[in-house]
């Protein structure tokens, strides 16, 4: 009985105790649940209250991206509105190396869809070496609509490859203006540092290009414009979803030049296949009408990075197409120096115009025989004749009498030996020899014998065609010298406001009118009855000029210069300086034709064609032939 009564009792107690124990454990798990949910709540509170500001900032940074909008670069126009540099819209195919995976394979596959030349590949490889992995680099430029359509179809196969609509810079006049207008190119590291230093880097966000040479470089600030800003909302893939705010870019200003494109072309073509340079200046204000350096090069090659092969061709060519001969090439001025020497003689009162010098065909100094190349000695020569027929002996003796330092002091005023300050970079200063210069340059004293050949523009003398043109313009303008400038005015295309590049009179040389008259008359005589008379025989205008010959190699004592015996590149350079019309000059120019011998034969005909076009509007039928 007891067992019967106890057993169920125990069983009930047991299961009751089991249930209590279970409920106890369940309560513990309930506490566990509350604790962990409490922990979660604390975590949420920490993130959403304490750290809310921090995470909001991060979310905004995720969300908002500030995109620069590159401005349109200003165009460059000649004085008559002819386009020399402009922009056009086209597509490029660009690869971002960091996102593209195997580059070679990507390019090979792209080549099955759009044409990719070996030149494109070489250029891309070169860009790749110069750039960072995450920059987007063009593999092909100027794609046709059809190519773009084909790429769009296969787009999904090419991660990291994008077709971008972009503005391209183009130089429609090509090599004719290569040294004046210059070109733009991709911004390099050095330029980034420079921009940073001058505080202009922010304005170049979104710009891939910067002016590298010529006007593109020197007027970079005016041409570039102001970069706009677009605040966009982006998704995690960096794609813009919508625009939040927009500050439009301000287009760059246009440049309108003093340069006459047609004149420039006439001058460039007039050289034929000779190398050389020509600078034409309006003497009344220093405006540069033409600035030619031949051969030129196609500046369009440089815009998207030149491929190594084309670069080597240009850079290694003996013709030096990359050298701007007009502003950076220096040559002895030869006999074109004589009118300036004559002015120096008058200025110092060393010689009167009427004073006659005997020219026996040579000048002996210190046992050295300074020759005059012509077969028959000139005999008695006054100042006028010395210029018209280009007597050497007259100027040997004059130089000797003046002495090197007075010569240098006088020539300095014409700008010889110093940069003209023209508005493109890369100008050479040339060499205006003096005792001080020689001491500085060679740490040697000046020998009196060295002065003799300076008198006829040889010796240490070395000037740029630009300096000679500027000096000629100064004579033409009666001694008032202007800084040569290519740009006439900068035009704000929005307001139409024109900011002229003011003609800046550098100095008034205060030359006496009667002195000037002697030299100017003599220069008219050169074209009438002198060394270049034949070239200007039928000219309906009066031009005042001077021929010159710059020696490339020294001729030994007792030897005669025979052109046919000298290697082509060692032949003399032909010079010609001229201004016209003589009584009221509107153009002054200097021409050098390299290795072309006597100045009147090669350089003067080039000048004639340029003057004919400028003064008469006459287009030449063919390149100027050597007289």
């Amino acid at each position: 009985m007891s067992e019967l009564s106890i057993n169920p009792g125990i069983e009930i107690r047991d299961s009751e105790r089991e249930l209590q124990r279970f409920r106890g454990r369940l309560a513990l798990t309930g506490i566990f649940v509350l604790l962990l949910f409490g922990l979660l709540f604390l975590r949420f509170a920490y993130l959403q209250v304490v750290q809310h500001r921090h995470y909001s900032t991060l979310a905004e940074a995720n969300r908002i991206s500030v995109l620069p909008i590159a401005p349109h670069r200003g165009v460059i126009l000649d004085r008559n509105g002819v386009l020399l540099a402009h922009n056009y819209s086209a597509y490029t195919l660009e690869i971002t190396p960091s996102r593209a995976g195997n580059l070679e394979q990507t390019i090979d596959e792209l080549a099955t869809i759009v044409e990719i030349t070996p030149r494109d590949r070489r250029r891309f490889r070169k860009l790749l070496e110069e750039s960072k992995r995450f920059e987007s680099l063009p593999i092909r430029t100027r794609l046709s609509d059809e190519e773009i359509a084909r790429f769009a179809v296969h787009r999904y196969r090419f991660p990291g490859v994008e077709a971008k609509a972009r503005l391209f810079r183009q130089y429609p006049q090509g090599e004719i203006f290569s040294h004046v207008v210059g070109h733009i190119g991709r911004i390099n590291q050095r330029e980034i540092e420079q921009l940073e230093k001058s505080g202009r880097l922010a304005n170049y966000r979104g710009s891939d290009y910067i002016g590298k040479t010529g006007l593109e470089q020197s007027y970079e600030a005016a041409l570039h414009g102001t970069t706009g800003v677009e605040e966009v909302e982006v998704d995690s893939g960096g794609r813009a979803v919508r625009v939040l705010s927009r500050t439009p870019p301000v287009s760059g200003n246009n440049l309108v030049l003093n340069l006459d494109a047609k004149l420039q072309e006439v001058a460039y073509q007039a050289f034929g296949d000779r190398r050389g340079a020509l600078v034409a200046i309006d003497p009344r204000n220093g405006g540069v009408l033409a600035l030619v350096s031949k051969p030129g090069f196609d500046p369009n090659l440089f815009v998207d990075g030149i491929d190594p092969q084309s670069w080597n061709e240009l850079n290694g060519s003996p013709d030096k197409p990359l050298l701007n001969r007009a502003a950076a090439g220096t040559y002895p001025p030869g006999s074109t120096f004589k009118p300036f020497m004559a002015l120096a003689a008058l200025f110092y009162g060393k010689r009167s115009p009427q004073q006659v010098i005997s020219d026996p065909g040579y000048f002996m100094f210190g046992g050295h025989r300074f020759r005059d190349g012509r077969p028959v000695p000139l005999g008695a020569v006054d100042m006028h004749r010395s210029i018209v027929v280009s007597s050497d002996v007259y100027y040997y003796t004059l130089a000797n009498e003046l002495g090197i330092d007075p010569i240098a002091r006088f020539m300095e005023k014409f700008g010889f030996g110093s940069r003209t300050g023209i508005d493109i970079a890369g100008e050479s200063a040339g060499v205006l020899p003096s005792t001080e210069w020689k001491l500085r340059r060679f740490k040697q004293k000046w020998y009196a014998g060295e002065t003799i050949s300076v008198g006829i523009g040889q010796g240490y003398n070395s000037y740029t065609p630009l300096q000679l043109a500027s000096a000629t313009a100064t004579i033409a303008n009666d001694g008032v010298m202007y800084r040569p400038h290519i740009v006439d005015y900068v035009e704000d295309i929005r307001s139409g406001e024109k900011t002229p590049v003011e003609p800046k009179p550098l100095r008034d040389l205060a030359l006496k009118p009667e002195h000037l008259k002697v030299v100017k008359d003599a220069m008219v005589g050169v074209n009438k009855e002198g060394t270049s008379a034949r070239v200007f025989a039928d000219a309906p205008y009066v031009a005042a000029g001077k021929t010159g010959t710059a020696q490339v190699i020294a001729i030994k004592q007792g030897e005669k210069y025979v052109e046919s015996r000298v290697a082509e590149r060692h032949r003399d350079h032909a010079w010609f300086i001229v201004y016209a019309p003589a009584d009221n000059p509107t153009i002054a120019l200097a021409v050098i034709a390299e290795n072309s011998g006597f100045g009147a034969r090669a350089a003067a005909p080039v000048a004639r064609q340029v003057l004919d076009y400028h003064l008469l509007g006459k287009l030449p039928a063919k390149p100027a032939e050597a007289d």
């Binding site: 279970f22 369940l26 509350l34 959403q48 750290q51 979310a59 905004e60």
Partner: protein
């Protein structure tokens, strides 16, 4: 109301627990709301998920109507089938995304680990119930082995998340079955000591997840990206949230997996701390109700099964929200009843169906 209709209604709702159902429906509604925003206002996923919900509620209703002792009979065959299938997966399974989780049984592919989620608690509950009268240490050891075999097989697939969740469901059950405290303490000590061993057994990507949790910034574009972006979403939500459909992280595609495992980031960004508190409250309410059902369950089998289901549900919610807010590693665990996806929805509703069955069949058992 006509008699037939009233009778039908009673028949339909007899085994449904109104309190549980209303909490479940509220959570599902929250899920749909968030999903709509996460899917950028498209109805495609929304209608898919609605169908999933219907199916899941149907399964719940069906299981609510199955008396617990039927389930008890299914325990052993289900468990053995599950184990056999897991071995099958290990031997012949198909590899998807680097893990061998699927088994092709001719008609369709199945993921046996899903089956194990319900089969293991059933089996353990059945086992403890059978030995209720004389529970000895030996029984706990055998239970632990029954837990360890499928857990190890799933971990080898590898599927760390599911393995841990299944272990947790079994662990809760063994704890509720009265595992002695001295063993618990000893196990805790052993676990602490065994950490390095566990580390050495982990796959590289699993280690990476743990390391990334400790310092998400170490790999901001790789493994840490999920955590960083979801943490930003939660934090930038603030107290009030950015408003429904206004989450920038969500709508600009910064939150990965935002309709499934990371849907809580969307919710927290748009509804803020207040919304999070409400959601936690809703979960607590549901868990609380389930615990009351558990506490009042008539048999040990029912109690243990209900407790395991309840606590596993809690674990899903905790692990998911902990992962999204950056205090737990990224494991593939959905937010229960909220995340998009049919499988998890069905298995969770199935569990609640069992809870309802336990709650509504006890009178029959007692009488």
């Amino acid at each position: 109301m006509p008699f037939v209709l009233r009778r039908l209604l009673v028949l339909l709702t007899r085994h449904i627990d109104g309190v549980l159902l209303s909490a479940i429906l509220l959570l599902m509604f929250t899920g749909l709301l968030t999903l709509f925003s996460a899917a950028n206002g498209s109805f495609g996923r929304l209608s898919d998920q609605l169908i999933n919900m219907m199916v899941a509620l149907g399964v719940m209703w069906a299981f609510a109507n199955i008396p617990p002792h039927y389930l008890m009979r299914m325990a052993v065959p289900l468990f053995l089938t599950g184990c056999a299938l897991l071995v099958g997966v290990a031997l012949f399974g198909e590899i998807v995304n680097g893990a061998r989780r699927w088994l092709n049984i001719g008609i369709t592919r199945i993921q046996p680990s899903e089956l194990m989620k319900i089969a293991l608690p059933l089996m353990l509950a059945w086992y403890f119930n059978r030995n209720e009268a004389s529970l000895k240490l030996r029984n706990y050891v055998i239970a632990a082995v029954m837990l360890a075999v499928p857990a190890a097989l799933i971990m080898r697939q590898p599927d760390l998340g599911t393995a841990l969740l299944i272990s947790a469901s079994g662990g809760y059950l063994i704890f509720l079955a009265g595992l002695p405290w001295r063993i618990i303490i000893a196990l805790a000590a052993a676990a602490a000591a065994g950490m390095p061993l566990l580390w050495s057994l982990m796959h590289d990507y699993q280690r990476q997840r743990v390391l990334t949790l400790l310092d998400p910034g170490s790999d901001p574009l790789g493994a840490g990206y999920h955590t960083i972006q979801s943490t930003i979403a939660v934090g930038s939500g603030g107290v009030l949230g950015k408003g429904w459909m206004n989450g920038t992280q969500t709508h600009l595609d910064f939150i990965p997996e935002r309709t499934t495992d990371f849907i809580f980031a969307v919710y927290a960004e748009e509804f803020g701390l207040l919304g999070n508190a409400a959601l936690l409250g809703l979960y607590l309410f549901l868990i609380g109700r389930a615990m009351v059902i558990t506490a009042n369950a008539p048999t040990l089998f029912a109690r243990l099964l209900a407790g395991s289901i309840t606590l596993t549900f809690f674990t899903y919610a905790f692990v998911n929200m902990g992962m999204v807010s950056g205090i737990l590693p990224v494991v593939g665990v959905p937010l229960p009843l909220v995340s998009y996806g049919g499988t998890s929805l069905v298995s969770i509703c199935l569990g609640f169906g069992i809870l309802m069955s336990i709650n509504t069949h006890k009178k029959l058992v007692q009488t």
